[in-house]
C-alpha cells in the first residue's frame, strides 16, 4: 500500500476533476429526472385514458432493467439507428430516463397517500380536478415525498459511477485509471474515493433531514 504515491498532487487533482464531472452529471440528471418524473407521476395518478396505461408499462420496463444496460445502450446501440449522443449527454440521458421512472413511482405514491376525503371536499367546494391537484394534493404530496426523493437522488449520485462503462471521466473512472498505474495505489485510492462519495451523500441526507423538519 503506497499512500504517498497514491495521494500525489497529480493523482489528487485527477480525482477532483472526476468528482467535478460526477457532480455536474448528477446535478443535471437530478433536475431533469425530477421534472420528467413529476410529469409522469401525475399522469399515472390522474388516470388519463391511453396515456396513463402507456406510462405504466414504460415505467415498469425501465425500472426493471439494469441502469448499466441503459447507459451502454444509449451510448453504443442508439447510433445504429441514427441517434448519436456525446459522452456526457448520453450519460445524462440514461440517468435521467432511469431515475425519472423511479421518481414517477415515488410521486404517484406520494399523491395516492393523500386522503380521499380532501379531494372530495375540494371538489365539492367547487375546485376543478386540475385545481384540486395543484392546490390540495400536490403541495401535501410533495412534502411526503421528500425523504424517498432524497434517497433516490443519493442513488443517482452513486449510479453516476456506472458511466464507467462508457468511459465517462467521472470519479470512479479516474480512480480506476489511478489504480491502473500501480496496484499498490488500489486501497488508498478506493478509501479516498469512498470517503468522497460518503461525504457528499451524507451531506445530502443531512439536508433532507433539515428539509423534512422544516416542511412537516
Amino acid at each position: 500500500m503506497d499512500f504517498i504515491g497514491a495521494y500525489s498532487a497529480d493523482n489528487l487533482k485527477f480525482l477532483l476533476d472526476g468528482l467535478y464531472i460526477t457532480l455536474i452529471v448528477a446535478f443535471v440528471s437530478i433536475i431533469l429526472s425530477f421534472i420528467i418524473g413529476c410529469i409522469i407521476g401525475v399522469i399515472r395518478y390522474s388516470e388519463v385514458p391511453v396515456l396513463s396505461p402507456v406510462m405504466f408499462y414504460l415505467v415498469e420496463v425501465i425500472r426493471n432493467l439494469p441502469l448499466l444496460l441503459i447507459i451502454f445502450f444509449i451510448r453504443f446501440a442508439l447510433p445504429e439507428v441514427g441517434i448519436k449522443l456525446g459522452l456526457i449527454t448520453a450519460a445524462i440521458a440514461a440517468l435521467t430516463i432511469f431515475e425519472a421512472a423511479m421518481i414517477a413511482e415515488i410521486v404517484r405514491g406520494g399523491l395516492m397517500s393523500i386522503d380521499k376525503g380532501q379531494i372530495e371536499a375540494a371538489r365539492s367546494s367547487g375546485l376543478s380536478n386540475a385545481q384540486t391537484l395543484w392546490h390540495i394534493v400536490l403541495p401535501q404530496g410533495l412534502r411526503r415525498m421528500v425523504p424517498p426523493l432524497v434517497s433516490q437522488f443519493i442513488s443517482l449520485l452513486k449510479d453516476t459511477s456506472l458511466a464507467v462503462v462508457i468511459s465517462l471521466p467521472e470519479l470512479m473512472h479516474n480512480a480506476n485509471i489511478v489504480i491502473g498505474h500501480s496496484y499498490s495505489y488500489a486501497i488508498p485510492t478506493l478509501a479516498l474515493v469512498a470517503l468522497i462519495y460518503f461525504t457528499v451523500n451524507y451531506l445530502l441526507s443531512l439536508l433532507s433531514r433539515r428539509l423534512e423538519q422544516r416542511t412537516v
Binding site: F76, L162, L190
Partner: protein, 216 residues
C-alpha cells in the same frame, strides 16, 4: 430486428443468463445472512454493536456498488492474492445489499408493536424465545416485499460484474456484439433476458404488498 442473433448465440446468452442468476442468488443468501446479523446488532442494547451496525449501514448505503465491487476486486491483489471477477463481484453485491436488507429487517421487527414483546416477556418467555416465536414470525411477513425488491435490485445490479469481467449477461453480450457488429439487436435481447427475471418478481412483490395492506 435480427432474430438470428438470438438463435445463433443462444448458448452464450444462456451462459451469461446463468452467471447473472447464480451471482444474484448467491449474493441474496450472503446479503441476507450479513443483513440479519447487522439488523440484530442495530436493535440490541449493547452499545458497541449498535454503533458498529449503524456505521456499517450508513457507510455502505452512501457509497456506490461499483466501489464495493472494486474493493473486493483490487483490494486482494494489493494484499497479494486474487479474487476473479465473478467472486469479487458476487461478494461485493452481497456486502452492498446487506446494508439495505439489514434496514428492511430492522424496520420489520420495529413494526411489531412493543406491547407484544412486553406481554410475552411478562408471561415468562426469554428474549430469544420471544424473538423466535412472537416477533420474527410476524416481522417476516412485512420483510418479504422489501426483500423481494432487493432481489430485483440484485439481479439488475449484478450487471456491474461485467466491469470486472464477471461472466454475467452483460459480459457475454459484449462478446456477442463484437462478433455480430449488431449492438442494438444484441442488447435488446439482453434486456429481454433481464425482464424475464425481474418483471415476474416485481409483479409478485406488488401482489404480496396488496395482500398485506388488505390485512391491516
Amino acid at each position: 430486428m435480427d432474430y438470428s442473433i438470438l438463435t445463433d448465440y443462444f448458448g452464450l446468452y444462456m451462459e451469461g443468463f446463468y452467471g447473472t442468476l447464480l451471482s444474484s442468488v448467491l449474493a441474496l443468501f450472503g446479503s441476507f445472512l450479513i443483513g440479519a446479523v447487522i439488523a440484530v446488532f442495530r436493535i440490541t442494547t449493547v452499545r458497541g454493536l449498535r454503533w458498529f451496525g449503524a456505521v456499517y449501514v450508513e457507510f455502505i448505503r452512501n457509497i456506490p456498488l461499483l466501489l464495493v465491487v472494486y474493493i473486493f476486486y483490487y483490494g486482494p491483489s494489493a494484499l497479494g492474492f486474487t479474487l476473479d471477477g465473478f467472486k469479487a463481484g458476487t461478494i461485493g453485491l452481497a456486502v452492498y445489499t446487506s446494508a439495505f436488507i439489514a434496514e428492511a429487517i430492522r424496520a420489520g421487527i420495529m413494526a411489531v408493536p412493543k406491547g407484544q414483546m412486553e406481554a410475552s416477556r411478562s408471561s415468562g418467555l426469554s428474549y430469544i424465545q420471544t424473538m423466535l416465536h412472537i416477533i420474527l414470525p410476524q416481522a417476516i411477513k412485512l420483510v418479504i416485499p422489501p426483500l423481494g425488491n432487493q432481489f430485483i435490485n440484485l439481479i439488475k445490479n449484478s450487471s456491474v460484474l461485467t466491469l470486472v469481467a464477471g461472466l454475467d449477461l452483460m459480459y457475454f453480450a459484449d462478446g456477442i456484439s463484437t462478433e455480430t457488429y449488431r449492438t442494438f439487436d444484441t442488447y435488446i435481447f439482453v434486456a429481454l433476458f433481464y425482464l424475464v427475471l425481474t418483471l415476474p418478481l416485481s409483479y409478485g412483490v406488488r401482489i404480496w404488498e396488496r395482500r398485506l395492506q388488505r390485512k391491516y
